[in-house]
Symmetry: C2
Subunit: 300 residues, 2 copies
């Protein structure tokens, strides 16, 4: 097996692209895929002030490093969620990674925003932990980005994440969810622009990039994530990919190109009000979900 570019011994074989690379040319391939996603979906430009939400996992750290190496102005933001011992370990890994790579980093504490850690906040709601934690993180990242002058918020979602979400969304075909499934969510009143530059990179490719770039990423799994349906959909999609390499990519980009324009033009747009407490947009009544949870925590 030889590298497609230089003919030296290949270290990584990509069945979905029917090709193979040495370390050097795999890195080049991966970063070009990131650049291609940025241009194809018009995510941001050279002058953008980019915030990257980093968890310490392979995806967000790879996105952060690849963007830096591609010459973009990136700052990382890490939220310590108070999950013991995962969050502190992740914070240390992110801090070392930032200092090794001379990357700008902001570290936030969920308690400063919400008044409680995620494990504490769980007791104040009946919703699944992953959905509460996702809501809290999205709120904090959006608020931090807007209040600190960033044009765009990057998340590390890769092709497999997108494929699994799309798969879940088509199992019951909710047009409003489908309309929001796109690698760019444009800025609007109270929302920073959100983009996913790893959307053309599979989980396997992202892992390989993190490994060959010697990124010291957090390999632990969140103790609350067991049995998440996204894991099941990823498994199903991997079965299909195994039989028909390239399907995942066609599935996701085919949707973006051929169906998303049709559906997003037709689906009802959600109506946003301003939250009476924080002023950020909400569809859930007078008070947004974050402030409602915060109030419950304050009282209880």
């Amino acid at each position: 097996m030889k590298c497609r570019v230089c003919g030296k011994t290949a270290v990584i074989k990509l069945k979905s692209h029917n090709t193979a690379f040495c370390v050097e040319h795999f890195v080049e391939f991966f970063e070009r895929r990131v650049e291609r996603a940025i241009r194809r979906f018009k995510m941001f430009g050279r002058g953008s002030n980019i915030l990257v939400g980093v968890s310490g996992g392979k995806d967000s750290l790879s996105a952060w490093l690849a963007l830096k190496r591609l010459g973009y102005d990136v700052t990382g933001v890490f939220i310590n969620l108070g999950i013991v011992p995962n969050s502190d370990l992740a914070q240390r890994l992110v801090e070392s990674f930032a200092s090794e790579n001379k990357l700008k980093l902001a570290v936030l504490d969920v308690k400063d925003y919400l008044g409680a850690t995620i494990p504490e906040a769980r007791n104040f709601t009946r919703k699944p932990t992953c959905s509460v934690c996702g809501m809290v993180r999205r709120y904090i990242l959006n608020k931090f980005a807007l209040e600190n002058g960033f044009n765009v918020l990057v998340t590390g979602h890769n092709l497999d994440d997108e494929a699994a979400t799309l798969f879940g969304n088509i199992m019951d075909w909710n047009p409003q969810y489908l309309a929001r499934q796109y690698p760019v969510l444009p800025e609007q009143d109270g929302f920073v622009r959100k983009v996913k530059p790893l959307v053309l990179c599979s989980e396997y490719e992202t892992l390989a990039y993190a490994v060959v770039m010697r990124i010291g990423f957090d390999r632990s799994r969140c103790p609350f994530s067991k049995g998440a349906s996204s894991q099941f959909y990823k498994h199903i999609l991997n079965l299909i990919e195994h039989d028909m390499p390239g399907t995942k990519q066609r599935f996701v980009t085919g949707f973006y190109e051929k169906i998303s324009p049709i559906i997003s033009g037709q689906a009802k747009k959600p109506e946003f009000k301003k939250c009476k407490i924080c002023g950020y947009p909400t569809t859930a009544g007078d008070v947004c979900a974050f402030c409602r949870l915060k109030e419950l925590i304050r009282k209880g």
Copy 2:
């Protein structure tokens, strides 16, 4: 496990409906599902002159019998495809079934239409056998229905068939294929109305109906169908159904209700010409695919 209706011992458990039935009430349940599909998708009425394409398999024979029992005016049509020994066996089963149940039946021979059997015709084309055979059967059924005064052509596609086709279509999101995926294709110049009344009945339910109704159906598999991707998609969908009962049904009906109206309004309609030889519609140039194959066979 007890029958939901009468409380007697149940013989069939339906996880996707979270229920169970005795033989008598399962038959009632199944036939009501067929009736519900007919009404929900406005397939046909009591006065319609209905042609049922029957292969001898469980699906088409179940559809034929259920429609008869529901009081519709149905005639079966069987095409002998010349696959040895499968086609002759299937023909005998269909003929006995028709005479046992006092059903009207027309038996056609593919050679009378095409000039060759399917195994012979295979040698005149590079296309996959299943796709050639499908084209030939659709052509003959449509022509026979129109030339014999039928309003509507029924096929035995069940929920699993529809789910597998939809699954295949969303793996590359072809809007034109998606626009045609609906349990009713209305009549238009040169095309009879086509409907799928088993669309709400799973493969398992249809098999159970065929068994309890003692339908002597053809259990052999076509020798040319090995490795068909629809089988792979059915397997994948069954894995999902096993973990999340009811998903298949939500997947198919959700698409029909929420997405199909959006896509079919937006997708380009295919443009039909009249075939210069037979006068039936074609999108494939001056001569339709059937007549082109027939010409090749005549010359070769």
